[in-house]
Symmetry: C2
């Protein structure tokens, strides 16, 4: 008898799982339900559709339902899963008001995350945000139709990218954040001030330290300030879509996201999860975290799919998801911003004694005509010598250097070793001592008081 | 009584050693002798002076003799060390015909390398090359004064960079190499063919598989071909300047370069060496190698200087140079070329069973407007799973990814681990699965026959 995998939510994690399960278990029937209008798309590309770098939302779609159908994976759009019944092994699906019950043998729960709309912000639930591809289209249309002034609430990645998209289209933008700086969850405060400067250099009016408590269609208010615009967009981070799972008896963890083991299986046999709705283990802190990152969604989806496929064909081999470092990158104009591992403050919270090394240099040899400023920070544990984290803010080519730091952390390299790794050098690419070497040497030599 | 360090050869290794020794042993008298007109310069920048990207040779000088004098390090230019007498602890120096004898307590032997002039190539010893800063100036002058057609002999880094410099100045260039492709010591043959294409796209006439046996002022001949130009430049690699050391009784190794231990000390007590004239240990093959790379020169010079300084102040602590991977990078037009560790053929020679994974992708998300082709190759040992080497040929931003592979090799990471490292992703910077992940997965899954 053919077994069936039902996929709840058809973006990166869900469709990676579907593809991988199909590869390993060609006879497995696979049906994916997605409440939006697209599956398998790059949410990370949305701000760039809005800003015009990417021509249309269709460019962000990695695979269409027809392409999945050709691989014998059935995709249903605009179909919301309303209930999961684990005893009867069925889900209840609503497609444009038509409800139907579908049985499953295996379930992949991959509902993603929704933009955070804090109850403390009046009107937040009605504010514009950037979640679906349609949102990117809608915001672009607003710009096309003559929006002159935008107010963006939130100083995280999405807030910054949306603000830059408006600025890129020549619109006036005010970016308001409650933080002392932008990207407070990404960068140490002094590194954040470099990001602030990059935002301001784009002509964006940046207002820090102001908590918006009321949002209306054309206004945002907070801390005695009134911000007026043709459009108000909110970008306050995300929250995992785990209610449906919780209602069904699938366990969620301390973060509110779905709890999974290292095989991406939930507490319910045959129910797997991954992506923005699920927890993952942070390799440095050892804690469970919930990170809405495309990299994590693709990897955890693939692991779940491998294990579902193997289970379906009776193969007892399991793939393990080895965890995350929270490595992430973005850019503000020409300034690249990246981080991995723990921030200085986080490393204290998790019981380390951070030895911090920072260097200001250039992205090429100093004499190269395009040399621009780069700041690199490395954080190590003074006792164990392990590298704990890194941050980079700098000119073209500097951001992806974060991957070297991530690889060092992954391998539990000591800060002393990192100072000597044989990294590549030529004048167009770096200084002869890479900035990572210098930051590592400084962190290694740091005497704690 | 004040002790004296004499430095023989004042570029990266020698002056790094001098600076570091001075830092640790401020009372140490330090005198450096350099037979050229500059100390402490970026030889790697010379082709770009010639090509015009860098305005003048002075831009390549990191520190002048006056700056060293301000740190109490005495520098003598145009002063060639003719003899080293280890019994009497003296050197014989020739400065414009004036000979003098100088005593030393410690000696840093850092004479660098000279362009290879094979005896099998008639006229090679008289051909133009690119070693000293003056050579870069001279070649630039030739271009300025109307050189229309250049013949460059040699398909290594220097040959390519010189050929590109001529092309960049709008001159006709023929590049002749005996190899099947350019960069045969840097890339596997099929990756080399991608570099060939990049050379040709610059308008350079590339002739492969032809061994030049005769060079004259305006002609190069070989294999029945005659190549005519206003200028002929040779770039056939380098040879370590170790004769002076050998004559003095300082041991040289299998490569012909000065043999050193991991503290950069030679077989002669109190005599240290580093940089292009010395050997280093390759961390993958375990063999002694001689690599003329600025990174290695700076690092080995610093290690020697630390150990000289510590010895001088009676501190028994020693710093260790941890070895090399041969990581290197260059560019041909907009195409970046990088390698680290072993090539496929080398890994067979050293007794490994190479599992090779290669991927062709883009340097950004595929839908990003500036997406350009990138090829990444990873080589692992099928038995031990260790990553052995990597090669990259691709568009802007791709070359320095080699550092991730270098860090993985350095940490003895397995190819299976590398496939999951948490690397950074955003559409302007990479695909969501980094090309390193995909190449690693392919190498990991490779079944050997």
């Amino acid at each position: 008898m053919t077994e069936r995998l039902v996929v709840v939510g058809g973006d990166a994690a869900g469709m990676s799982a579907a593809s991988q399960a199909k590869r390993l278990a060609p006879d497995l029937e696979i049906i994916a339900f997605e409440r939006g209008d697209y599956v398998s798309y790059s949410a990370c590309g949305e701000p760039y559709v809005m800003g015009g770098e990417v021509a249309e939302v269709d460019d962000l779609v990695a695979r269409t339902p027809a392409e999945f159908a050709a691989r014998d994976i059935s995709v249903h759009l605009r179909s919301e899963v309303m209930e999961i019944d684990l005893d009867r092994r069925t889900i209840l699906v609503d497609s444009a008001g038509d409800r139907s019950e579908i049985g499953f043998d295996y379930l992949m729960y991959s509902t993603g995350a929704r933009p955070l709309r804090p109850p403390s912000v009046a009107g937040a639930e009605k504010a514009l945000g950037l979640r679906w591809l349609n949102d990117a289209d809608h915001l672009r249309e607003l710009v096309d139709r003559g929006t002159r002034k935008a107010v963006v609430v939130g100083g995280g990645y999405i807030g910054l990218e949306v603000a830059e998209a408006f600025a890129h289209r020549g619109r006036n933008v005010t970016l308001v954040t409650s933080g002392e700086h932008v990207l407070t969850r990404t960068l140490d405060p002094d590194m954040g001030s470099l990001a602030d400067a990059a935002v301001r250099r784009l002509g964006i009016e940046l207002v820090t330290g102001v908590y918006i408590d009321t949002i209306e269609e054309h206004e945002a208010h907070g801390g005695g300030h009134d911000f007026l615009g043709d459009v108000v967009v909110i970008g306050l981070g995300t929250s995992p879509e785990s209610e449906l799972a919780r209602q069904a008896g699938i366990e969620t963890g301390v973060t509110g996201a779905v709890a999974v083991n290292s095989f991406q299986e939930t507490n319910q046999p045959g129910v797997w999860s991954g992506g923005d709705c699920a927890e993952a283990t942070h390799r440095v802190s050892g804690r469970q975290v919930n990170m809405a990152l495309g990299t994590v969604a693709n990897k955890t989806g693939r692991v779940a799919g491998t294990n579902i496929g193997n289970t379906a064909v009776g193969d007892s081999e399991r793939e393990t998801f080895p965890g995350v470092l929270g490595t992430a990158i973005t850019k503000v104009g020409e300034v690249e911003i990246a981080r991995t591992g723990l921030l200085t403050g986080e490393s204290v919270i998790y019981g380390y004694e951070p030895a911090v090394g920072t260097v200001t240099g250039t992205n090429t040899a100093g004499y190269w005509p395009t040399a621009t400023r780069v700041d690199v920070r490395l954080i190590a544990d003074h006792i164990s010598r392990r590298v704990l984290g890194g941050q980079i803010v700098g000119g073209p080519g500097s951001g992806k250097k974060i991957d070297v730091i991530a690889t060092a952390i992954w391998a539990q390299m000591s800060i002393d070793e990192l100072a000597w790794v044989d990294l590549a050098y030529a004048p167009p690419f770096s200084s002869v001592w890479d900035l990572i070497h210098i930051a590592a040497r400084r962190a290694a030599g740091r005497q704690l008081s």
